[in-house]
């Protein structure tokens, strides 16, 4: 009962956050120069009917939102407008129908461009997260277990060092190293590889993924090491570890059966909170390795002033992160028996 309510609360909060992002996105692009909807209309080559069509499609003939005719906040408009008949609502409705506008550059629907790229980013972040979490957890366990020895100190210093590396710079260094060692340097697959058998295609993709994933892993494993270390240190100084020791369990048994699950629980929360930051790393890595993901799309869109793609990519990233966050939250409440009571 309580659990269901907590679950609904979390989902409601995520929905609210998504709404917040939509509002932010709407005003950001409408207020600041470069609104894809209006910029399209300004194109002098468009015929009058085409302009009209675009105006209706994006609702530009409608008031921005109730009480505000235009984006000038001083000019108050009529408040007695049907809210469904405002630019904001039309924008939101378009979003839910997957209508993100047309790319200036390729003339393809933004939604189509981003859909295929989302999976590439998820692939990169997924592989990088799993590796960095595994390595970070293992290092963190050793550091905490061997606390205040040279093993611990080296792990902490190394973690602080990799944390301080700018992601894109490490990517560049690894790219340099890779170029001397015959690794593929850009993209997700070798051109023309799609005619190869499936296994070889996968090997090709894995080779392309090697350096981006390595960069991602190195940059984030330091943080996970530190978090795991401090979390495990906390757990290992709990009374129930002393009980376990008094029970005659070996160090390995204590770590495995009594400390790890308890220490991993806070890690789940941190991973969830961190997702927003890790996207920053993915963008930089994709920029250096020309990885065809959302980050790559953002970088390309920046260069081409392709605002519809930029807007869509930001929205998609934000919503994905919010969703992943919710997922991590739910995992946590599933894993920790104490949450049921709270």
């Amino acid at each position: 009962m309580n659990r269901t309510r907590a679950l609904l609360k979390k989902i409601a909060w995520s929905a609210f956050t998504v709404l917040f992002v939509i509002i932010l996105n709407f005003f950001l692009f409408r207020i600041l120069p470069g609104d894809p909807a209006r910029a399209g209309i300004r194109d002098p080559r468009l015929k009058k009917e085409a302009v009209e069509m675009l105006r209706v499609r994006f609702g530009l003939d409608k008031p921005v939102i109730n009480c505000f005719e235009s984006l000038n906040p001083i000019k108050v408009g009529s408040c007695a407008v049907n809210p469904l008949d405002t630019q904001f609502f039309i924008y939101t409705r378009n979003l839910f129908q997957g209508e993100l506008g047309i790319s200036y550059h390729t003339n393809r629907p933004v939604a189509d461009i981003l859909a295929e790229r989302l999976w590439n980013t998820v692939l990169l972040i997924g592989a990088g997260q799993i590796l960095s979490i595994i390595i970070g957890v293992v290092f963190g366990i050793f550091a905490a277990w061997k606390a205040r020895t040279s093993v611990d100190y080296s792990a902490v210093i190394a973690s602080l060092l990799v944390w301080s590396l700018p992601t894109f710079w490490l990517a560049i260094l690894l790219l340099f190293w890779g170029s001397n060692n015959g690794l593929p340097l850009a993209g997700k697959s070798t051109p023309g590889s799609s005619s190869l058998p499936l296994i070889q295609q996968w090997v090709d993709i894995a080779r392309h993924m090697l350096l981006p994933t390595l960069t991602y892993t190195i940059v984030y494993m330091g943080e996970y090491t530190l978090i795991m270390r401090s979390s495990l240190m906390d757990v290992l100084s709990e009374d129930y570890i002393l009980t376990a020791k008094a029970k005659g369990l070996s160090t390995f048994q204590i770590l495995k059966d009594h400390a790890l699950k308890n220490a991993m629980l806070p890690l789940v929360t941190v991973i969830a909170i961190n997702l927003g930051f890790t996207v920053a790393g993915a963008i930089q890595i994709e920029a250096v390795f020309s990885w065809p993901g959302l980050g790559g799309a953002i970088v390309e869109a920046l260069g081409r002033r392709d605002f519809p793609v930029l807007q869509g990519a930001f929205l998609l990233i934000a919503v994905t992160v919010i969703f992943a966050n919710l997922l991590a939250d739910l995992t946590y409440s599933y894993l920790d028996p104490r949450v049921k009571v709270d």
Binding site: T17, L28, P166, I241, G248, N262, V279, Q284, V299
Partner: protein, 639 residues
């Protein structure tokens, strides 16, 4: 008027802070790295061999020349001296870092303070907003905003600053919450101090240390963000930051030419400043918010022993545990060792219940933990032996000891809440003891055994599937006893099992232990600070004070002929039902601190019968016959 007074206080505080900080190696290295960079930024025009990039004569060489005597870091895609650009680039990083962090810290600090201080609706609203902002990925949002506006240095500073406050708000809020309920804040409020006064005078000084650590972190994040934005082509085109240098080099063929110097040095600058800040932050954190950094799995210190002729003891068949002259030190770096237990001996026979009595801090728990070598890593057995069935537990190997732990000697810890693992069911934790020590126990009978054990302590069978937090305090304590019985041990150490329980439950637990002893023939060591408890069920009593044996005798002797003034005072301090009109007295003062033990008798400062000799000479253990031992100079006089 009194403006000089707080100033001096600040100075004193600063001095004491510096004293600890100057011993922190990590923090000092970080501070030195940062200071070096700040100096470089300030004296950039003097250090850089070529003038700033805005000057026309800046064009000085061929493009992408490798490092040489005239160009230490080589030249870039425009033939500019990379070393000069590197030196000037430090200014941009520091300016962006410090100004953006300033904005973030102000916003985050104010939001956190207000949310934590006001609480209720406001806190809810502000923290919801913070969480929302925290989830939204910040770099993409910065990219969007700067792409849509002008990429000027000012814009970059504002965007980074306005988006970087979320963690600060969270950290400050939780610290404010922690501080808010402290006594002096409540007192200030009670005498009618205004909110502004309470915040600025009472809360801010305590939030400040955490805010400083956070600020260092935020500066480093701002610098990283600036470099990433510049690298993505969103930097201010009129200033050459390190990120911008990398953007140009990477975008203009440094990679294909192999001009590693154009790609390496600017990034090295970023790593230098961020690492310096990170180390500084770590150092500050360690100094301002010190943590003990010890845990139960750290290796214990090996037993050391003065070589001396052991008094040969005759083990009778009944003797299960024989503790001889046990002494324990706590070792702290840079301090003399603290003597926690000194020269304690006692004998435990089968089926016997011995009470270990004394106030908190008298070394009772230390003594009990040392029997199974469960001391924290600072604890060390420095003398004495612990014989269990003739085997010395202080010297056997860890593997041997692990076979005796719980199988032969188990412990009921005090305050069973944290003694049980919160994420495993109670039944599971009891079963674990069985599988560990009785590998031959039939697997399908383990559940039945768990149910039997729980039944023994009066817990219904279906509760075994529950987690400790679903138990009441008394139930947890009983579950702990069930777990201690799991392997049919010969000895149970019960370390204040009834403290923190209400009187009814206390009585239940006591009765339970006593009946189990009679039923199962257990030997029990019962640790308590309550002599009343001891009177009811114990056979023998060991009274400890300040780590030494004050008195040791049969329970009747202790009550009827106590010889040590401490025992006498303890007896006066508990109610006697046969003499209801007797006045209860308490002993003024506290037990001595382990790191500051008195020279003579440890009880001398509180002793009602103290005389001159007590302050200069520590009394030895006097044997009064019939295994009655007391350590008091008065006993010697009357012997």
């Amino acid at each position: 008027m009194n403006s000089s007074e707080p100033k001096q206080q600040w100075l004193i505080r600063l001095q004491s802070f510096w004293q600890t900080f100057s011993k922190n190696r990590i923090g000092l290295v970080g501070l030195a790295m940062l200071a070096l960079l700040i100096l470089m930024a300030i004296f950039a025009p003097l250090i850089a061999p070529y003038t700033s990039s805005s000057s026309a004569e800046f064009q000085v060489g061929d493009i992408y020349n490798p490092p040489s005597a005239s160009h230490w870091f080589g030249t870039d895609d425009a033939g500019q001296d990379i070393f000069s650009n590197f030196v000037f680039g430090a200014r941009i990083s520091l300016i962006v870092g410090f100004f953006a962090a300033f904005i973030s810290i102000i916003i985050g600090g104010v939001l956190g303070l207000v949310a934590g201080f006001l609480g209720g609706r406001w806190e809810n609203l502000l923290m919801r907003f913070t969480d929302t902002m925290l989830v939204i990925p910040d770099l993409p949002l910065m990219v969007v905003i700067i792409a849509l506006t002008k990429p000027s240095l000012l814009n970059i500073i504002f965007v980074i600053g306005l988006l970087g406050w979320t963690t600060t708000a969270r950290v400050v809020r939780s610290q404010t919450l922690a501080v808010k309920s402290r006594k002096f804040v409540l007192r200030a409020r009670a005498v009618g101090a205004g909110n502004a006064h309470i915040i600025s005078r009472h809360i801010l000084p305590l939030v400040m240390p955490i805010l400083v650590v956070q600020a260092v972190l935020v500066v480093s994040l701002a610098i990283l963000n600036e470099s990433a934005l510049s690298f993505l082509g969103l930097g201010d085109p009129t200033v050459l930051s390190w990120g911008q240098m990398l953007n140009y080099a990477f975008g203009r063929g440094a990679m294909s030419i192999g001009a590693w110097w154009a790609l390496f040095f600017p990034g090295f600058g970023i790593v230098w400043v961020v690492l310096g800040l990170t180390l500084l932050g770590q150092g500050l954190e360690q100094v301002l918010n010190p943590r003990l950094d010890t845990h139960h799995l750290m290796p214990g210190r090996p037993t050391v022993r003065k070589d001396r002729v052991e008094a040969q003891t005759k083990f009778t068949k009944e003797t299960v545990l024989e503790v001889q002259n046990l002494s324990i030190n706590y070792i702290n770096e840079g301090k003399p060792p603290a003597r926690a237990v000194e020269n304690v001996s006692f004998t435990l026979n089968a089926g016997e219940l011995i009470g270990l009595v004394g106030e908190s801090g008298c070394g009772k728990t230390t003594l009990m933990l040392s029997l199974l070598r469960l001391l924290p890593s600072a604890g060390q057995i420095v003398d004495g032996r612990v014989f269990f069935n003739g085997e010395d537990l202080t010297t056997i190997s860890d593997e041997e000891l692990n076979k005796i732990r719980w199988k032969e000697i188990s412990i009921v810890f005090q305050g069973a809440m944290n003694a049980l693992n919160p994420v495993r069911t109670v039944g599971d934790q009891i079963a674990e003891a069985i599988t560990r020590h009785m590998p031959d126990f039939p697997k399908d009978k383990i559940q039945a055994r768990v149910i039997e054990l729980l039944d023994l302590v009066g817990i219904a069978a279906d509760h075994r599937e529950h987690f400790p937090h679903q138990y009441s305090g008394g139930m947890r304590q009983r579950a702990m006893i069930a777990m201690a019985l799991a392997c049919n041990p010969q000895v149970i150490i019960a370390d204040e099992p009834t403290t923190a329980l209400d009187v009814m439950i206390q009585a239940q637990i006591l009765e339970l232990l006593d009946s189990l002893r009679k039923k199962l023939g257990l030997a029990i060591i019962f640790v308590t600070h309550d002599l009343g408890v001891v009177a009811e069920i114990c056979d023998k009593v060991l009274v400890m004070y300040g780590g030494v044996t004050a008195e040791y005798a049969e329970v009747d002797t202790i009550y009827n002929e106590p010889r040590h003034p401490y025992t006498q005072e303890l007896i006066k301090a508990f109610p006697d039902l046969t003499k209801p009109k007797k006045k209860l007295t308490s002993i003024p003062g506290y037990p001595p601190r382990l790191d500051n033990l008195p020279v003579g008798c440890r009880f001398a400062p509180r002793c009602p019968a103290v005389f001159a000799r007590c302050h200069t000479e520590q009394p030895i253990l006097h044997n009064l016959g019939n295994s009655h031992i007391a350590s008091c100079h008065l006993v010697e006089a009357s012997k």
